[in-house]
């Protein structure tokens, strides 16, 4: 018990230093900390929001599984999207002569995701409070979209803190930052669509994936707009 409390205090202390960009988390101090600290933050904080997101209308023991699924899905969403985008991004960086910086680029990307996860975790009580106040499924979905948008913007802010140093070194990093944001958003939206349900509609059975064939988010949106 005491050990877990002290581990939690240590995690919060490190998260605080990370949010401030201080100590071993200063943009130029990557050598001062183990490389796995930032991914560990995603794994530690991402599930907090995921579990909270899955706690909508907990009126049966089955729906407890949605909390577990949500906790697994948030870090998976972030890491899997990165994995799909990384080969193309790596080759483009190499071609622009930025290979020597790629370690720092990777650090900036993971730092952005760690920032996103911590901000999401801090927003988890708000989501839970929303679920207490309203039982409307559509409103719950929209609230979660809003929380993810806020956290993504905060993640971008953290990522930019690391990228600023890189952009000072070479102007092409600005171009690559834009390319990463476009690639990540394009793949991430589809990844999130495939990993549904996150909140879990009360009218549907509890499951890890929707019990229907995978579909394409962009095709669905295009059909909504243009019919067909």
């Amino acid at each position: 018990m005491i050990a877990s409390i002290s581990a939690m205090r240590a995690a919060i202390f490190q998260a605080d230093r990370f949010l401030r960009g201080a100590g071993p988390f200063a943009p130029g101090a990557s050598a001062a900390r183990p490389a796995w600290w930032l991914p560990l933050m995603v794994v530690a904080f991402g599930p907090i929001y995921g579990a909270c997101m899955g706690s909508f209308q907990l009126d049966s023991s089955d729906r407890l599984f949605l909390m577990l699924y949500g906790a697994l899905k948030v870090p998976f969403l972030l890491f899997a999207t990165t994995l799909v985008c990384l080969p193309g991004f790596f080759v483009l960086n190499t071609l622009l002569g930025l290979r020597d910086d790629f370690r720092d680029v990777l650090q900036a990307i993971v730092a952005g995701q760690a920032g996103l996860s911590i901000v999401l975790a801090s927003l988890a009580p708000l989501t839970r409070f929303w679920y207490f106040s309203s039982s409307a499924y559509r409103a719950a979905l929209l609230f979660n979209v809003a929380m993810f948008t806020v956290a993504t913007l905060a993640g971008q802010f953290v990522m930019l803190r690391y990228y600023r140093e890189l952009m000072r070194r070479h102007r092409h990093h600005r171009l690559m930052l834009g390319a990463w944001v476009i690639l990540y958003a394009f793949v991430g939206i589809q990844m999130a669509w495939m990993l549904r349900p996150f909140v879990g509609s009360p009218d549907m059975p509890v499951s890890f994936f929707r019990q229907e064939p995978f579909s394409n988010a962009y095709v669905v949106v295009a059909r909504l707009f243009f019919g067909g």
């Binding site: 799909v84 193309g88 190499t94 071609l95 070479h170 394009f186 095709v219």
Partner: protein, 280 residues
């Protein structure tokens, strides 16, 4: 094999096309390694492209088992598209190049063009996981065609930038070796300028415009060669793509290795434009 990828890495990092290695218009790009690399990387993108036909069969959207051959066809056709286009266009590209007075030799021209093809297919192959990921969840043929067009267009533009910048570097006269400057101790109190020290040590990438000190006329010549190459390669490549159809594989049509040779790419463009504008 590791040696091959090391050389591919050197090409992508711009070491092979760095100004000091392009001395006297030579391009140090061994064809016996880079041609198989072009085939391998093209086949990698083709592999991801072919997933669409496989996923349609596995998800039982189509019952025709023959459509699985589309995956094999893609693996063969993708490298064939780039390399056959090069075979058809190379003589004219070389002749025009010589006519304009470029100092690239026959083999150097071939090596440079193979290098551009390798860059093209390497970028395409690196974007392959994105294509494969979308294939897992998409049955829409139009979406897959558009996604392929976008990814191949990105790869194509990167390869064009590589070709243009390498031609501009080749236009520069060979530079004499830079004399070694005596080391000056840096003041301890001074803040290290990260940009200056980084610029001092980093090797420029192959897509970077370097200050070559070449007169505008020399660069203009390089640009003219580039424009003509793009025009010839682009037109022949478009028609080659038309001949090698189908690539993605329309789920409403039976599998065939090659479609019958009816019409051409340009006719099809005109027909589509007429159809769009409702011209009889």
């Amino acid at each position: 094999m590791i040696q091959w990828f090391r050389q591919l890495d050197e090409l992508l990092r711009g070491k092979i096309t760095s100004p000091d290695r392009l001395v006297e218009g030579r391009v140090e790009l061994p064809l016996r390694r880079f041609v198989p690399l072009a085939v391998l990387l093209g086949a990698t993108y083709g592999f991801f492209m072919g997933w669409y036909a496989l996923s349609l069969y596995l998800s039982k959207t189509t019952q025709d088992a023959a459509c699985c051959w589309q995956a094999v066809a893609c693996i063969i056709k993708l490298p064939a598209l780039f390399l056959l286009t090069l075979v058809v266009t190379f003589p004219s590209l070389y002749v025009f190049n010589a006519l304009v007075g470029c100092r690239l030799s026959f083999t150097a021209t071939l090596r440079l063009l193979v290098g551009a093809v390798v860059v093209n297919v390497a970028v395409a192959a690196s974007l392959g996981p994105i294509l494969g990921f979308f294939t897992l969840s998409t049955t829409s043929y139009s979406f897959m065609v558009l996604l392929n067009v976008v990814l191949l267009a990105v790869a194509g533009f990167v390869a064009l930038a590589f070709l243009l910048h390498t031609l501009c570097r080749l236009a520069a006269p060979p530079t004499p070796a830079r004399p070694v400057a005596p080391e000056v101790p840096e003041p301890v109190s001074a803040q290290p300028d990260s940009r200056a020290s980084f610029e001092l040590h980093r090797k420029p990438g192959p897509l970077e415009r370097l200050p070559t000190g070449v007169p505008e006329q020399g660069l203009g010549q390089a640009r003219t060669i580039f424009q003509v190459w793009v025009l010839i390669y682009g037109l022949v490549g478009a028609q080659m793509g038309w001949l090698l159809r189908p690539f993605v594989g329309n789920p409403n049509m039976p599998f065939e290795w090659l479609r019958s040779r009816q019409g051409n790419f340009f006719q099809a463009v005109v027909t589509h434009a007429q159809h769009l504008l409702d011209v009889p």
